[in-house]
């Protein structure tokens, strides 16, 4: 059993889960995920890692409450235990000195892009972070990014913070600041990662996305997390979850992600992620 250190409601529908898992904390890297079960009958859901404390043996994820399983996680309190917290899984984001790196986070991905930005900064890159949400009240960790970035930009759809618009405003935003990216890394809902990959194609900015398919075991056994990358079938749990966003068959991926949407909310009998139609109302919070 794994002890919950804290569950914080960071912004509406978005929760920060801190779990005592020393073995995971020892090995975790940016871009990894963990497999979590909220209770003994629970499904195995993947959550991207957003931070950790190796000395304290704790690991942090930020997840969006969208279905029955994430609702169970959101109801946990400090001191509770959960039966499964396995990881770190996935290959982790490739970190090295690229030059100028743009880290883009949205949704739960504002959390999981944080350790990427930190590691990219430590590796000697010039790091610019862009966080995006529908409105300012949905942005979180706004101060945390300042220490690990050479610049932090915000984009909101209603213009209540930063630039008004959505991720398609990114090229214009960067150009206005005179920033020429060598690498773009995006963590967020599927729709956002797809949009960023579309807009970075014509300027030819290499774009890494942290994919978030349905998973079961997460250890390279079941094959449900497969996606087409450059015409080849890849398995996100062991080949990724980071892939070149310009090579992904996004239509296929979006369809696969939605395949259990009705079942995810069935136990809840209420809607979760209506305003995030882009991510397919996908359970798993990532």
């Amino acid at each position: 059993m794994y002890r919950i250190v804290d569950v914080k409601h960071v912004v509406p529908n978005m929760h920060e889960l801190i779990v005592e898992a020393p073995a995971v904390a020892e090995s975790v890297q940016p871009g990894n995920f963990v497999i979590v079960r909220a209770d003994a009958q629970g499904e195995r859901i993947p959550l991207s890692v957003a931070d950790w404390d190796r000395d304290a043996g704790t690991v942090t994820s930020v997840f969006m409450q969208v279905g029955a399983s994430t609702a169970k996680l959101a109801r946990l309190k400090a001191g509770d235990t959960i039966p499964t917290y396995a990881g770190p899984l996935g290959r982790g984001t490739a970190i090295s000195k690229f030059g100028t790196v743009i880290c883009i986070g949205g949704c739960y991905g504002i959390g999981s892009i944080y350790p990427v930005a930190r590691a990219m900064k430590e590796a000697g890159n010039k790091v610019f972070t862009i966080i995006e949400a529908r409105s300012s009240f949905l942005l979180y960790w706004r101060d945390k990014f300042k220490d690990v970035s050479d610049g932090v930009f915000e984009i909101t759809r209603d213009g209540t913070a930063g630039k008004k618009g959505h991720v398609s405003a990114i090229p214009e935003l960067l150009q206005s600041k005179g920033i020429q990216p060598d690498l773009v890394v995006v963590n967020g809902c599927t729709f956002q990662m797809m949009r960023v990959s579309t807009i970075t194609r014509s300027p030819g900015w290499k774009t890494i996305v942290n994919m978030n398919p349905i998973m079961i075991d997460g250890t390279g056994m079941c094959g449900v997390c497969r996606l087409s990358v450059d015409g080849q079938t890849k398995f996100a749990c062991v080949d990724g979850p980071d892939f070149d966003g310009h090579k992904i068959d996004w239509d296929e991926f979006l369809a696969r992600r939605k395949s259990y949407s009705p079942e995810e909310v069935e136990p809840l009998r209420k809607s979760g992620c209506g305003s995030h139609a882009g991510c397919g109302g996908k359970e798993q919070g990532r």
Binding site: A23, D217, Y260
Partner: protein
């Protein structure tokens, strides 16, 4: 009847089974097991041959005539002890071993009539032991102070842990999933191997003092080398890896599953109890399973139990070449699985929302035997046809689990991603690491994994006790 055959009982006792119309809609065990009377009668068929060919046919060399003669005498406690001397999982093996290819194939009675039902008798003793709370723990050798790490709590790992614990070593199993048992838990369905039995066997090795750590993914949570800083030797029984697909268009459509996914949702995650268990499973009406092995049979029979109107097996050769156990083929036929033999799927066709709706196939005919010794299927020109489907389960095998090969230096890895070992000892290219089961052979049987575990455990024991000097240093 010829004179000499008068005393021979040529017919075996049939296995009592749940009625086929009932069982195709429930997950309860199909084979009900012999009664005491039937077991004694079946045991009395054994000729007690001077040379026990049956024993030689068993990958773990069970004293088969020995345990059978105990049943004849009604001394079941001694019988199960004889089995457990070399087999840690008799209740499992009695159910899922392909005895017809192993011990029973060698049975002398089989030349004139039916071989003795060795597997059913093994199961009888194991079930008798559990039902009578007669489980006897073996005496453990004095503690050697040596620490062994076992990766994977499947059939291979459990066997190694059992053997090395009895020999006095301190054994820890690291299991990636939240439940132990490996393929016995996530793969083989409840109706063929009740999970209560798997749990019972895992509890047994825990009761011997084996430490089992769940949710621990060796190669990710900690690397092999990090673990070996704290252990004297390691056995890798990490099992099956990524499923194979056919490589035809449409395999990433919704409604197309690997058998690993389909069976894991049901068996490990209990999807058939959704929403009480929160992992969902679809309940499509028309299911096509591609493949002809036991996993394909399990998938097709599972789909009936989930409420399918029609469940089809698509196999490119004929019934004779089906790799599945004949018993499982018959069970599937009795339950109403439709066998579309000599058919090769060539394309999956989806609707506008990305769900599979049709399967395009070619009819085949058999030509000359190929490298595998089986007659090669050859497409019949112009025979293509389409059939409507709501789900396709691809059950054509899998590669070994990639996590350890990917993350460990100095391990000799084969072309298919398998870990190469010395067959006689199970030792890898690293001096203190052994491996066995599917991670070495690719998808194979429970008993062959156990056999590999047994061989590795013996070699590891020698190494740990210093009888064999290390042949090389760690890389």
């Amino acid at each position: 009847m010829a004179d000499g055959a008068k005393t021979l009982k040529l017919k075996r006792n049939p296995m009592p089974k749940q009625d086929e119309h009932e069982r195709r809609r429930n997950f309860d065990e199909v084979a009900l097991g012999y009664t005491t009377e039937t077991a004694i009668d079946e045991a009395s068929r054994c000729l007690n041959c001077r040379t026990a060919f049956c024993k030689a046919g068993c990958p773990v060399n069970i004293d088969i005539p020995g345990f059978i003669s105990c049943i004849v005498k009604g001394d079941f406690a001694s019988g199960i002890r004889k089995i457990k001397a070399t087999n840690a999982l008799p209740a499992v093996c009695g159910r899922v071993c392909p005895q017809e290819e192993q011990c029973e194939k060698q049975c002398v009675l089989g030349r004139k009539g039916d071989p003795v039902s060795i597997g059913r008798l093994e199961r009888f003793l194991a079930d008798w032991e559990a039902a009578n709370s007669a489980i006897q723990r073996p005496t453990l050798a004095a503690n050697t102070g040596k620490k062994v790490a076992v990766v994977g709590a499947g059939p291979a790992g459990i066997t190694v842990a059992n053997d090395l614990k009895i020999l006095g070593h301190d054994v820890t199993i690291f299991e990636a999933l939240h439940e132990s048992g490996g393929v016995l838990t996530y793969g083989i369905p409840e109706f063929r191997l009740p999970k209560a039995i798997v749990r019972r066997e895992v509890e047994y090795i825990k009761s011997l003092g084996v430490n089992v750590v769940p949710d621990y993914i060796v190669g990710k949570t900690r690397t092999v080398d990090r673990i070996l800083q704290e252990f004297d030797a390691m056995f890798i029984g990490a099992g099956a890896g990524l499923p194979w697909f056919m490589g035809i268009p449409g395999e990433n459509l919704n409604g197309v599953y690997s058998a690993n996914e389909y069976l894991t949702r049901v068996n490990l995650m209990k999807g058939f109890l959704f929403p009480f268990y929160s992992t969902p499973i679809k309940r499509p009406a028309r299911v096509a399973v591609v493949g002809g092995g036991n996993v394909a049979m399990d998938s097709a029979r599972t789909s009936l139990r989930l409420g399918a109107d029609e469940s089809h097996i698509f196999y490119r050769r004929s019934r004779n070449e089906l790799p599945a156990r004949i018993e499982e083929v018959e069970n599937a036929e009795e339950e109403g699985v439709i066998f579309d033999l000599l058919v090769l799927p060539t394309r999956l066709i989806g609707d506008s929302t990305g769900w599979v709706r049709e399967m395009e196939c070619l009819r085949m005919e058999l030509g000359e035997p190929d490298a595998s010794g089986r007659r090669k299927p050859i497409p019949v020109e112009g025979s293509d046809f389409r059939m409507p489907v709501d789900a396709v389960v691809v059950a054509i095998g899998n590669s070994p689990n990639p996590l350890i090969p990917m993350s460990t230096q100095g391990l000799d890895i084969g072309k298919k991603g398998n870990i190469n070992v010395d067959e006689a000892t199970g030792r890898t290219s690293r001096h203190n690491i052994w491996a066995g089961g599917d991670v070495v052979t690719g998808a194979a049987t429970v008993i062959s994994a156990m056999g590999a575990g047994r061989i590795a455990a013996a070699s590891m024991h020698k190494y740990l006790m210093g009888e064999a000097a290390p042949e090389q240093r760690p890389v």
